[in-house]
């Protein structure tokens, strides 16, 4: 924490070698509460004219909430904002735009069926359009920022990078004092990223404050004047010299801020060493052989991933989110197929297998997205527990409810799923009980040999986290090979036997879960080894 507090102090003083910064927008004590969930607490940030300010943080850290507050999509539960010396509390995006705050959203708000020009004019005026005049005006505006643009092209025909440029021009038309970009590079090809960063710099040079949300460290190094790291809704670190402070920033992003002394999940207790798996080749359960995967835009999400998991071994996949973990999980679940390479469980090639075939091969899947992939919220607990095994409890297609409910009760007891009854709606259970129910189903998959658990503790309370990891470890003790994908490095260190680090879809490092390896893992995660 010493380095972090030093960084915090540094942010109070103006950055060395620059003029006194002019704050464009100041947030003081801003918080946002959604129901019982605190998304943001007591945020103090100043965004200055002429700077590119990066907001860094994991998914769920509160970056998007922060941006949405600035852009008037959410109103803060507490705190105040000042924009150019005037109190600023936008009721909606329109008010934000009027105050000079513009935002490029992660999901573009362009309408593919319309031309670039029509998209740009959307909502700006309602009367007759002088399309020729407007087009000339827009092209001139774009050119002052070094952007080229064909106003008459149909948005549907544009590449993702080009669409993003249209979004940026849409913002620039409002001559913004603050330009917010929410994860602008997540969808871009490498050379498009370079071009985007140049544009950001030009916009900042024109006197605006550019706020860029990202979790890619290379970009921060390339562009950021200042960085603020969010973790679980609070400012975990700040830096005025991001390139130099990179290691500290990474640590602030991936660690619990409260992990200094206490151990709320009792993970240390879990990490009492089990018998180590032998690691002999003959004991191999699952094997990934040169897996590469391109998404529908042709962007490489996984590159030549080769990995083997032994009987009884828990292999942890570490990495900053968005580096291929989701794609890896979806591929092993049979939701995506690798563009290249093959993968095997007990020698059986599952590269082109359907989810059903994968289940039949003895693979249990705890998916990252519990609500969309892992379970059906509207069905009962009993139905969800046996979702993949309905035929076992039915004759001629008619479910034998009594037998199904009895079996479900047994499993629920065994896995400590607490519910008012087996007939309750799955969606009404707490997150922890939902996840335990999913585990109950997947861990009792007939002939289970390999378990994929993707972010299995996301959104769970402390007790449930511990229970989930106990279940996973118990499964490993019975000889199941486990691939555990998690964004919580502490949990991986506590639970896994071996950690593999993904960076930009590639395995960049591998080590044991010795606490002394933490530093090295951080370096791998930040892509600094290159």
């Amino acid at each position: 924490m010493a380095t972090l507090s030093a960084m915090k102090e540094a942010s109070v003083a103006p950055p060395p070698g620059r003029d006194q910064p002019v704050p464009r927008l100041t947030m003081s004590g801003v918080g946002k509460v959604f129901g019982a969930f605190t998304a943001l607490a007591n945020i103090d940030i100043a965004f200055h004219a002429g700077e590119v300010h990066c907001l860094l943080g994991e998914n769920g850290a509160g970056k998007s909430t922060l941006c949405n507050i600035i852009y008037g999509l959410h109103s803060p539960s507490s705190g105040a904002m000042v924009c150019d010396g005037v109190s600023y509390a936008p009721a909606n995006p329109k008010a934000a735009l009027a105050s000079g705050v513009a935002m490029v959203h992660q999901h573009f708000s362009l309408i593919p069926e319309l031309s670039v020009l029509d998209n740009l004019l959307m909502g700006q005026r309602f009367g007759r359009l002088d399309r020729r005049g407007e087009a000339a005006r827009i092209v001139t505006l774009a050119e002052t920022y070094g952007l080229s643009l064909d106003p008459h092209a149909l948005v549907a025909d544009l590449s993702v990078g080009q669409r993003q440029r249209v979004e940026i021009v849409k913002c620039l038309m409002h001559n913004p004092k603050i330009l917010i970009l929410d994860e602008p590079t997540a969808v871009l090809l490498p050379d498009e990223i370079t071009a985007l960063l140049e544009i950001c710099r030009r916009v900042a040079d024109s006197g605006s404050a550019v706020v860029m949300v990202t979790h890619k460290l290379a970009e921060i190094e390339a562009i950021a004047d200042r960085v603020t790291v969010l973790h679980r809704g609070i400012v975990a670190a700040r830096s005025d010299r991001p390139a130099a402070d990179m290691d500290g920033l990474v640590r602030a992003m991936i660690q619990r801020p409260d992990a200094t002394g206490d151990d709320p999940a009792g993970l240390a207790q879990l990490s009492t060493r089990r018998h180590r798996p032998s690691g002999k080749a003959a004991d191999e359960v699952a094997q990934l052989d040169g897996i590469s995967l391109r998404d529908e835009l042709g962007i490489a999400r996984l590159q030549d991933v080769t990995l083997s998991i032994a009987r009884g071994e828990i292999v942890g996949i570490a990495g900053v989110e968005g580096n291929g973990q989701t794609e890896l999980g979806n591929m092993l679940a049979g939701l995506l197929h690798a563009s290249d390479g093959r993968w095997f469980v007990e020698g059986q090639d599952l590269s082109k297998a359907s989810p059903r075939q994968i289940t039949e091969a003895g693979v249990g899947i705890v998916p990252e997205d519990r609500h969309r992939v892992g379970a059906v919220d509207r069905l009962s607990l009993a139905d969800n527990i046996f979702l993949n095994r309905m035929p076992q409890y039915s004759r001629f297609g008619i479910i034998d409810r009594r037998r199904q409910v009895a079996a479900a009760s047994t499993l629920a007891q065994q896995f400590d799923v607490r519910a008012a009854g087996m007939g309750v709606r799955f969606g009404s259970l707490s997150g922890g009980n939902q996840q335990k129910a999913v585990l109950a189903r997947e861990l009792t998959t007939p002939n289970l040999r390999f378990l994929l658990a993707a972010q299995p503790t996301r959104g769970l309370d402390v007790g449930a986290v511990k229970a989930v990891y106990s279940l996973i470890r118990d499964a490993a003790d019975t000889g199941v090979g486990v691939l555990l994908i998690s964004s919580e490095l502490d949990e991986l260190l506590a639970v896994a036997d071996r950690i593999v680090v993904l960076y930009r879809g590639q395995i960049v490092g591998e080590c044991t879960t010795d606490a002394s390896n933490r530093e090295q893992i951080g370096i791998w995660m930040s892509g600094k080894h290159t």
Binding site: H105, I111, P112, N119, M122, G123, R125, F126, R128
Partner: protein, 304 residues
């Protein structure tokens, strides 16, 4: 087919297409904005009834027309509030409204006209267009009531509005991606309400055309599916204005054939010709007649 018969056929094609054209133009605007009004049928029927009552009571078809619009607006507002404010299912509410209006107009008709059924109501008369009506052969085509020309005029204006004005872009945007439009600051909810009310006004004119324009009387359930046909015309027209106009004319022609074929001594079961527009729409929706590009957010409620 003699030239005289051809002219009569064309004239009746246009005359039969006009109620559809009014309603379809209104429905097109609404669907481009993402709202399906199955209640077009009910709104037309209410328009026909309101027009008939207004004209019969005041003796003026002009006031009848005003009355038609005033009758339909609350119904359109009901549809709009249900679907746009309360996010009710657009199809279900629309059909519910149709059944409601059928019951109400039947009741109202019996209460008001019961004793004097089939009474002729004051209505608009066909007026020859100077010059054009004197054309040889085609002359009869240009002897129509003024609402016919209004229908084409409004359709042209809507076409211009959709393609050449900012309002048009926003309406089209709302039908494809209301969230994106909302982010641009345009009032999505208000615009959708407006689009549905516009459909209401147009349906009222289409309905009134039936009762006080075309035949000068009201009968129970007299729209007889014309509203559904207008929706079908929008689908068959692939949500493009000029194609929707053509679809209305095509459907008008199919209906006109019902009267023309017997005159020519050709025996085709009437039911087949009544089916024809729906059959064409099925083919269109199934993608057999060109590619269908419905607004992406069609029938999806928007909530912010």
């Amino acid at each position: 087919m003699s030239f005289e018969l051809l002219a009569v056929f064309l004239a009746s094609t246009i005359r039969l297409a006009i109620p559809l054209l009014f309603a379809a133009t209104g429905e097109l605007v609404s669907e481009r904005a993402g709202v399906v009004n199955m209640s077009v049928e009910g709104m037309m029927l209410a328009g026909a009834f309101g027009g008939a009552v207004g004209a019969a009571m005041t003796g003026s078809p002009w006031l009848g027309l005003v009355f038609a619009v005033l009758t339909v607006l609350p119904i359109a507002l009901l549809q709009s509030v249900l679907t746009n404010s309360l996010r009710a299912n657009q199809i279900v509410t629309g059909i519910g409204i149709n059944i409601l209006v059928l019951g109400m107009t039947t009741l109202g008709y019996r209460a008001l006209f019961g004793a004097r059924s089939r009474e002729v109501i004051p209505g608009f008369d066909a007026v020859p267009v100077p010059g054009l009506a004197q054309l040889p052969v085609l002359g009869p085509v240009f002897t129509q009531i003024w609402l016919v020309w209004l229908a084409f005029l409004v359709a042209a204006a809507v076409g211009w509005m959709l393609s050449r004005t900012g309002l048009g872009i926003v309406l089209r945007g709302i039908g494809d991606d209301p969230e994106a439009v909302a982010k641009s600051g345009a009032p999505v909810g208000a615009l959708r309400h407006g689009a549905v009310l516009f459909t209401g006004v147009m349906s009222a004119l289409g309905g009134a055309f039936l009762s006080i324009g075309d035949i000068h009387t009201f009968t129970e359930g007299m729209t007889n599916g014309a509203g559904y046909l207008a929706i079908v015309a929008v689908i068959f027209g692939n949500w493009s204005l000029w194609r929707t106009v053509l679809a209305c004319l095509l459907f008008g022609a199919a209906t006109a054939l019902q009267f023309q074929l017997p005159a020519l001594g050709i025996v085709v079961p009437n039911a087949l010709l009544i089916m024809l527009p729906y059959l064409l729409a099925f083919l269109a929706v199934a993608g057999l007649v060109g590619r269908q590009t419905a607004p992406r957010a069609l029938a999806q409620p928007f909530w912010k």
